[in-house]
Assembly symmetry: C2
């Protein structure tokens, strides 16, 4: 949230229509394609006023959505048509790639003006990915105060609390009364209007407690803040990674939290509305990382998507060669009994599925801090038992099926045993690989599936073809 | 959040240590295994007082974590040792499965007492999964007011706004001044203490605006709420699905929102702290659903996990048979050239990877309402171009490699073309299958991967073996 257009609360007196207007969204709350089409048609017909009339009542987040949904060429045209509606709030809500594309078309002073409207955290998000020279040009066009705040934020590591925080927490001394706090809030024009807690600090500016605004409102004026404040509070170190920050907000159900420097002094605050999209992103990225799709955004430039994905496919090509080499060892066996070639992908494929199931569960549990050294052994043992149950079930199905189809009970037995072995190996690999990567301080979502698939492919071929030879179905 | 232990704000005057205490967590913010071990050791040694001394300073969310991390047997023993610390807040923070397990060991009147401490939404979450007769026993042991509130909540569909909401929003008439609102909040003892906005309603109790508490605090007493309120507000229909509610909170950066009945009357409010775990869950479940791991919780009972996973593996077994049948058609070809059996899994496997990448991106984009009918065609076209780039790269690599290894340039050419074809098919399937399932109002995360893998496996085998025959490498 931002207080961009509003200097003081009382400025908000003009009635505006409720948002989001239902006809602009379909029953799934997605922006209505007909509405989007209508906006573009008007822009293309040169009816900028008409387009503006449609866009103007939209919430900033919906304007951002609109830009994401339309073609690259249409984006420039629409931006020109509704230039005055493209304020900081819209850019703050916009997909990174789409925003960068639009910003590229603006002059540094225009970007500086938009960034100046924003809270520091949103302004930083807007300019942190720019080329160094463009960033410098934008910063030099900003007001000195804003520039100093952004430059300081940029000194903190990317994706750290220091970049997320706002620098304007309301901090009051312990000895103040509720009445003094209210009078202070009413008298000071320069304070932020979007805050949910007041922080109480000692003379060295260390946070010693916090008071939710509802408590201030419900308490008589003569009470001291020291008696009212909650002393238990979650402090966020300024260099903490945003993923950890998000987990803390979630775990302790925080609305806002104080950010402290290494000396323990209050330097900022983070509010939950800046965290929800991080919670979303961090929770949703596992599926993209496990699949090797990188950032996996449909608005990502094609070249970036290509680089991310082809690297993964090439890595998988190398690991697929491991499985192929194992098959090559059994070339003579396959020539004798082509049924082996028909059945072997089934063993590898179901093993891969079983491994992926376990891996997904382990990766999520690690990401949510649910899987630690305290319950690793228990979880591994759980996955082994589950793999034995799954493996036995699938082994019986495929064993009977293959035995009947090929009229060869021994072949049925071989594939059943190979399937059981591979599903158990898959279960073990699915939990051990992520645990090991995590222990090595690697993100288990990034590399687990290459290892697990290599293991389940190779072991599937090896177990099945090896057992076929060992059982005397074919000579080697 | 709950106001369980606190009747009025001023009760909170006793200093308590800051939480979470660092020594109880490791550098990754996970609960320290040595700390967990120490608690269990004390319980097992019969030193309940010692265990209690360790647990007592913990935040409710950390006590809940502690129970999740330990063995089933230890959970009962620890629960007995620290029974008085197990209040509603701890149960509200606990993993569903672990909570159900502990609650099973309690008498209905004990459950009723704990549920009575909670906000309605948390109490509902606690008892909604109970067997009907146990639920009835708990409800009949509750205070009539609490029971009525819970029974009403249970009339709304599971996972709907009606189950999530709290029934105690602060609502004031438009003509009140800021001063009147503050006096009302100070005078009424029965009001909730955890709220972040005051809702303004008309005489029919329809919400007409909302005022953030910070605005009330920063505005002189004589201002009318009608002049101060924000008229743009996001109203949540009482029957809206929680996933939609979560998306709205995220999109519009809401702290709290009014819930309205079908007649548009204010019936409750939802606050963001009750939403963050839903955002987390909904965003994180895609990876579990795509892998076929069901709810994928490491605390889920083994039988439930087995049922969820084996069903998926059996479905994949059926689809693997499609690929096998295609191989069987080419048995004669494989007998003539065993290299085909060695190479064919590579084509299928890389195709599967490419399909999974595209599918993960499409499923996430659909879940976040980023992919709609407005940009479906553009996204499909983007994936085709990406598949052509990826396919050409991998085709060249495998074509040259296979040609050299087998000393057979024609074989290299065949696998290269088959790989390109399969990666393009994979890219198309990866985006079309989720789009189609979504259009049919099915969750694309649930079934996409079975279809996509079947397609990439079958087409991989068919393209490669078919081309080998067509190119005259082998006779058919």
């Amino acid at each position: 949230m931002s207080d961009s257009e509003i200097d003081t609360p009382i400025a908000q007196t003009v009635p505006t229509p409720p948002t989001p207007p239902p006809e602009r969204h379909d029953e799934d709350d997605r922006m209505n394609p007909d509405f989007v089409r209508e906006v573009i048609d008007r822009v293309e017909a040169g009816d900028n006023e008409g387009a503006r009339a449609l866009v103007e009542p939209l919430h900033a987040a919906d304007i951002a959505d609109l830009f994401e949904l339309i073609d690259r060429d249409d984006r420039r045209a629409l931006a020109a048509a509704v230039a005055d509606l493209l304020d900081g709030d819209v850019f703050a809500e916009m997909n990174d790639w789409v925003r960068d594309e639009l910003i590229d078309a603006l002059e540094p002073h225009q970007v500086a003006e938009i960034a100046g409207e924003l809270d520091t955290d949103d302004a930083v998000a807007m300019i942190e990915d720019m080329e160094a020279d463009e960033q410098a040009a934008v910063l030099s066009a900003m007001e000195p105060d804003d520039r100093a705040a952004i430059e300081e934020a940029l000194t903190f590591p990317e994706e750290s609390a220091g970049r997320l925080m706002r620098r304007d927490p309301i901090a009051v001394p312990e000895h103040w009364t509720v009445g003094q706090v209210i009078d202070f809030l009413r008298a000071e024009d320069e304070l932020t209007t979007d805050f949910w807690e007041v922080f109480v600090v000692d003379p060295q500016h260390h946070p010693v407690g916090s008071v939710a605004l509802s408590w201030i409102l419900r308490t008589p004026r003569n009470f001291a803040m020291a008696d009212l404040m909650q002393r238990e509070q979650t402090l966020i170190p300024v260099d903490m990674d945003q993923e950890e920050v998000a987990l803390r907000f979630q775990k302790y159900a925080l609305i806002s939290a104080a950010v402290v420097d290494p000396a323990g002094r209050l330097v900022g605050m983070i509010t939950v509305d800046d965290i929800v999209h991080i919670i979303q992103e961090e929770a949703g990225e596992d599926v993209l990382l496990l699949s090797g799709a990188g950032e996996g955004d449909i608005n990502e430039p094609l070249r970036d998507s290509y680089k991310a994905r082809v690297r993964w496919l090439a890595a998988n090509l190398l690991t697929a060669l491991v499985g192929s080499s194992i098959i090559a060892l059994f070339g003579a066996a396959i020539e004798q009994m082509v049924a082996l070639a028909v059945l072997m992908p089934i063993v590898a494929s179901i093993g891969g599925n079983a491994g992926t199931q376990t891996m997904a569960v382990a990766v999520r549990a690690l990401a949510m801090n649910q899987l630690t050294r305290s319950n690793s052994l228990r979880t591994i043992w759980r996955e082994i038992r589950l793999a034995l149950l799954n493996g036995a079930t699938i082994a019986i199905l495929i064993g009977i099926g293959a035995g009947l189809v090929f009229g060869n009970p021994a072949l049925g037995g071989v594939i059943a045993v190979a399937m059981l072995i591979n599903i158990v190996i898959a279960g073990l690999a699915g939990v051990l690989v992520p645990l090991l990567l995590d222990r090595l301080n690697q993100d288990p979502a990034v590399a687990s599936s290459v290892f697990v698939t290599t293991i389940t492919d190779s072991m599937g071929f090896l177990a099945f073809l090896g057992l076929a030879v060992a059982a005397g179905l074919v000579s080697h």
